[in-house]
Symmetry: C2
Subunit: 364 residues, 2 copies
């Protein structure tokens, strides 16, 4: 069974592109109209390739399709692994009219997208995200990049895809931990912009955890639509777009501390959103009832409530100060002023921040 | 003595920027109005740093100025060396509001520009080119990037500077071979677009070789203006801009064959232009008198007339087929149809091309 359940267009002027969401699309949906030249290079990893590479190839009838299979894992999101994409493109003589295709999760999407941004100073790319996190996060926004030993996503580019194809069936092979990690970002959209979506999530959480296709497609559609709306207003992250980083400043510190890949990005964001909500409550921006509501939903999604046991407030302060969101050395945070409404501030009280860190850290 | 001799604005809408050309500007001209934040990172190499780094620092009064000194040479235009810029930026905690400054020749400019394009997904940069080649070529166009073992400039980005500062005094320390290499690109602008400029070059060549500041500033100004005019019409190299690659397809093959850095880029372009002119004559597009005129001017600039003695026609064919200018496997070349007028073609006769290669190659 192959069925399109939702479609939306990300509005970015001449860089606008469609997101097609459905069930059974992999291997059935024809993506060749989105390919300008004759060459396609699929970038995937060694976990996803045995499951979906043949189906992905079948989406490009009439094209010459090559593939690069990378090792799976955030720890490979580095230059050495990125270079394997360039090696493959040059060995197979891909011209500047080639199209790259990202088949996999966020790491594959970030790397294939950055390779597309840089190969011969920029070639088109298409995304086929196969994890919930990448479907609701990387599908919209055009952020691509790799990690540096001194910080996550420190090297990258903004590069928009030609099209995004999302097949909810690809979530059937996803470990439950990764489903939860994806739900962290889904919940985020409710917390920052959409109380109605938040109410829908509270009644639909059981069906999402059970991977029911209709519920998943609805959650993915509403998440992408929310992010697309924000990004359309602020493509290069000058202002509004920063609210999408709710939980990410605390979360990046957790990921860096734990070592890339030990905590999933979505898990760290889940805990980070709880910490941001706690600080928002201490700042008097939301009530403790609002805080409890947010924590309950995040926990129902199967996400961790506390950072790693060994992490100290000093670890947080050190790791947060190199975060990209800082401007000229000031720590900028995304907080909530009401449930369903986020804002960016460089003025969070130092004492309240210290209290939040002390409250969540079990080591000192 | 500090004197501005010429100024022009590269017209690119919201990405427009000024090029200031003069004598004695390094250390005197205030570039701080072009810096948004408080942080500046100068990227230079170990040849240029002892000569001009202190003067460059003095161009940014009131800013925090750090520096990264790279090893000098095209062979270091790779990811490992690029990473030293990212290391320096992250170790010194440069935020996404930092400004990178390229102080040096084309390699430094390409690498600092690409680092600026990628650091935290893009930060501003300023160019202070100190070689004639980089002053007339890299100042305009926004091309940045690094080499890959399988091809030159295969990884990069389009990224426009905030401003370009050109001090003709910096050419006094330049080896004569590098002056000649720069003159290759200067002559190129005459050959592709501007017969009047070509006539001026024929009478001014002696003063240029003698590094007279007024003549240099005039040649740099007219070269930048010519390139700016072409780039303004075609920022992303869709069509017209390709004529700027006159001599570059043959030239890149020579550079790759010789091993990066053994032939200077401008030397390879000089020989490449002679080969392109020869093919143009064989195709009946220019007369043999036109050809002789072009060869005479290129030789007066001190440039080589023939490719490396060991290079065969097969070497050229192999190395040219991975060139970026090819589309879907077809060899595209820039030829002259009249002196002072270039065009791009994918239809050069295979027999004429073979005759040109046979005529210029001493090995087979």
């Amino acid at each position: 069974m192959s069925e399109i359940l939702h479609e939306l267009t990300v509005q970015l002027g001449e860089r606008s592109y469609p997101i097609v969401i459905g069930q059974g699309l992999l291997g059935e949906f024809d993506l060749s109209p989105y390919v300008q030249g004759s060459q396609v290079m699929i970038v995937t990893n060694d976990t996803v390739a045995p499951l979906y590479l043949d189906q992905a190839r079948a989406c490009f009838p009439g094209k010459t399709v090559d593939a690069v299979v990378l090792p799976d894992g955030e720890r490979y999101k580095d230059w050495q692994t990125l270079n394997r994409i360039f090696d493959g493109l040059l060995e197979r003589r891909h011209s500047r009219k080639t199209t790259l295709v990202a088949l996999g999760g966020g790491v594959v999407g970030d790397m294939a997208g950055f390779a597309a941004a840089c190969y011969q100073r920029g070639v088109p790319f298409i995304q086929i995200p196969t994890t919930l996190l990448s479907q609701v996060d990387s599908s919209v926004g055009g952020k691509t990049g790799i990690n540096h030993p001194l910080g996550k996503n420190m090297i990258g580019a903004f590069h928009q895809p030609q099209a995004v194809l999302i097949d909810t069936d690809s979530l059937n092979s996803l470990p439950p931990r990764e489903v939860s990690a994806g739900l962290a970002e889904v919940i985020k959209y409710g917390l920052i912009r959409d109380t109605k979506f938040l109410a829908w999530l509270e009644q639909a959480m059981g069906r999402l955890i059970n991977l029911e296709a209709d519920a998943l497609a609805e959650a993915i559609f509403r998440s992408c639509a929310c992010k697309a709306d924000v990004v359309a207003q602020d493509e290069r992250e000058g202002g509004l777009r920063a609210i999408l980083n709710l939980g990410h400043t605390f979360g990046h510190a957790i990921e860096t501390f734990a070592g890339y890949g030990n905590w999933l990005h979505g898990e760290a964001v889940g805990t980070g959103m709880i910490m941001a909500a706690d600080l928002s409550a201490r700042e008097g921006m939301i009530s403790r009832e609002d805080y409890d509501q947010a924590v309950a939903l995040i926990k129902r999604a199967g996400l961790p409530e506390l950072p790693p046991a060994e992490m100290t407030p000093e670890d947080f302060m050190t790791l947060m100060s190199v975060d990209k969101k800082n401007v000229d050395g000031r720590l900028r945070l995304v907080l909530l002023n009401g449930i369903g409404h986020a804002f960016v501030t460089g003025d969070a009280g130092a004492e309240n921040l210290a209290a939040t860190l002390a409250g969540f850290c079990r080591a000192s």
